[in-house]
């Protein structure tokens, strides 16, 4: 293999890793600030100007706390749980196209770590493996509340994965490809999928709330019933990993939502910008636009969290199995009929 490609991809992966970590770090601050704003408070404002150094202070605090191991026969699995959660949350970013291409050092650099044929299936595969972190951690804690919480998280994620997969099928039928890069490219010129697949988008959005364990679906961390949820027994940076993984997967979910339904890096007038300003400025604007869309979705996740109360467990299951799945199947049928009539 060409060594320049290895260097190029390596640098790119490191940059994506750093950006994901940075976004996850500052999501914690954003969450607290947005919560404060919605509840008419000020929020953290002591560390740095306007609380800008708060995530660093939190990280320092988590690192310096005592690491506590509960009396469990499964010490290895107890340690492995948060590690699985964290690495799985970071793996999805490998197939996301962050932009079209940049022309640097006399060569075209594709702004994607890898463009595989089955990118969407890869994302679903990684999502479905993400449950293991919570399940193994919750079980190895040797605490019945942790176990209950892990069970809830697992059954919720499995249930909503089905509706999520079905909602994406209608989109794939229209696009005719599984590659996220081609899906992004197909949406150029305001042909965003959200205009063609509004129901699919809503189902996907609801399911991504459930997949990331966010309110109104955060039954796994329901404090009134389950103490702290699956991370009750965790302390120090191990708990930090679970919390961090939640924010990292929220960032990735927002990215996938923007890439699949909101045109990815496309913005109105991108072709004009490419012709008049050149490839690099047009694509840098594209990356900025993608990040604006991602930040909007992260804000949306937080906005919902501080607005809507938590569901009851049977309501959650009814919504998943009796409303979202039939709706997704109906959406597939309608899409198929419309596509056949338009042919």
């Amino acid at each position: 293999m060409d060594s320049t490609i290895i260097i190029e991809k390596g640098v790119f992966i490191v940059i994506i890793f750093a950006i994901t970590m940075l976004m996850a770090m500052y999501s914690t601050l954003a969450e607290r600030k947005i919560a404060a704003w919605l509840q008419d408070r000020i929020g953290p404002n002591r560390a740095g100007k306007g609380g800008i150094l708060q995530p660093l202070a939190d990280g320092l605090k988590l690192f310096s706390k005592e690491e506590f191991l509960p009396d469990t026969p499964n010490k290895f699995l107890f340690v492995v749980g948060p590690a699985i959660s964290m690495s799985v949350a970071l793996m999805t970013s490998a197939v996301i196209p962050w932009g079209d291409k940049l022309h640097l050092f006399g060569r075209d650099i594709v702004l994607q770590a890898t463009d595989i044929d089955v990118a969407i299936l890869y994302v679903f595969g990684v999502l479905s493996v993400g449950v293991y972190g919570i399940m193994i951690g919750g079980w190895a804690s040797n605490n019945k509340f942790s176990l209950m919480s892990a069970m809830r998280a697992a059954s919720q994620m499995i249930s909503y994965e089905i509706a999520m997969g079905l909602s994406i099928i209608a989109l794939l039928m229209m696009e005719g490809t599984l590659s996220l890069r081609e899906i992004s490219a197909n949406q150029s010129g305001m042909h965003w999928n959200v205009f063609y697949q509004p129901i699919g988008f809503i189902i996907f959005l609801v399911c991504s709330f459930a997949e990331t364990n966010r309110t109104p679906f955060d039954l796994a961390e329901c404090e009134a019933e389950l103490i702290g949820g699956y991370h009750t027994e965790y302390s120090s940076m191990r708990m930090g990993f679970y919390l961090f993984a939640e924010y990292a997967s929220m960032f990735i979910s927002s990215t996938i939502l923007s890439v699949l339904y909101f045109g990815g890096y496309n913005y109105p007038g991108m072709e004009w910008a490419t012709q008049n300003w050149g490839v690099n400025p047009a694509n840098i604007i594209g990356i900025v636009v993608l990040f604006i869309k991602i930040c909007f979705f992260i804000f949306f996740f937080m906005w919902v969290r501080w607005t809507i109360p938590r569901f009851r467990y049977d309501q959650l299951m009814r919504l998943g199995w009796k409303i979202l799945i039939p709706l997704a199947i109906a959406n597939i049928l309608v899409t198929a009929v419309v596509m056949l009539l338009l042919q």
């Binding site: 699995l77 044929d117 299936l121 890869y122 679903f124 595969g125 479905s128 449950v131 399940m135 994965e161």
Partner: protein
């Protein structure tokens, strides 16, 4: 380099498969099975069969093994609960495994000529891509349309059966 990867993967597969059988704790054994499934997906990737690898992970590691772990964790099995199996059960298990292995072998031997007959083999197209795979699966003449549809009917039947079993408290009036 690929040979080294193959040997490492094979070692992991075999080791985790043996550990699955010999571990006493059912949860550890299930986790070893998950590792085994992942390394099998790695073998598929060595064949450049991306679709098969990813679907294998989604179906086996992502769905079946999670449900299995779920059940084991809820039932709280201990090693004392393990029942002694009679000789007949072991014999039946070995016989059914041999039959499955026979079917698999037959499928592999028979599938080779179809692979060579197709146009995509001649045209040099990537025959592992999902486009070609979809065409082969849904091709009526020299593809796998009929078995594919039979498999989906089988899945539908098992789904209806599962729903019927879970609703057993309600009397079904005929």
């Amino acid at each position: 380099m690929l040979t080294t990867v193959f040997y490492i993967l094979s070692a992991i597969t075999l080791a985790s498969a043996f550990l699955t059988i010999f571990t006493k704790n059912p949860i550890h054994s299930a986790i070893y099975l998950v590792i085994c499934f992942f390394s099998i997906a790695g073998h598929y990737l060595l064949f450049n069969a991306q679709f098969l690898a990813v679907v294998h992970i989604i179906v086996y590691s992502g769905a079946i093994m999670i449900l299995l772990l779920f059940t084991i964790m809820l039932m709280n099995l201990n090693k004392e609960d393990e029942k002694h199996k009679s000789g007949l059960t072991i014999l039946a298990a070995v016989a059914s495994f041999c039959l499955v292995a026979y079917v698999l072998l037959a499928a592999f031997i028979k599938s080779m000529p179809i692979l060579e007959k197709g146009d995509y083999y001649v045209s040099g197209e990537d025959y592992q891509s999902i486009k070609v795979l979809g065409q082969v699966l849904l091709d009526e003449k020299n593809g796998f349309m009929i078995p594919f549809e039979f498999a989906s009917v089988l899945l539908l039947v098992s789904m209806i059966g599962a729903v019927l079993l879970s609703k057993k408290e309600e009397k079904i009036s005929l």
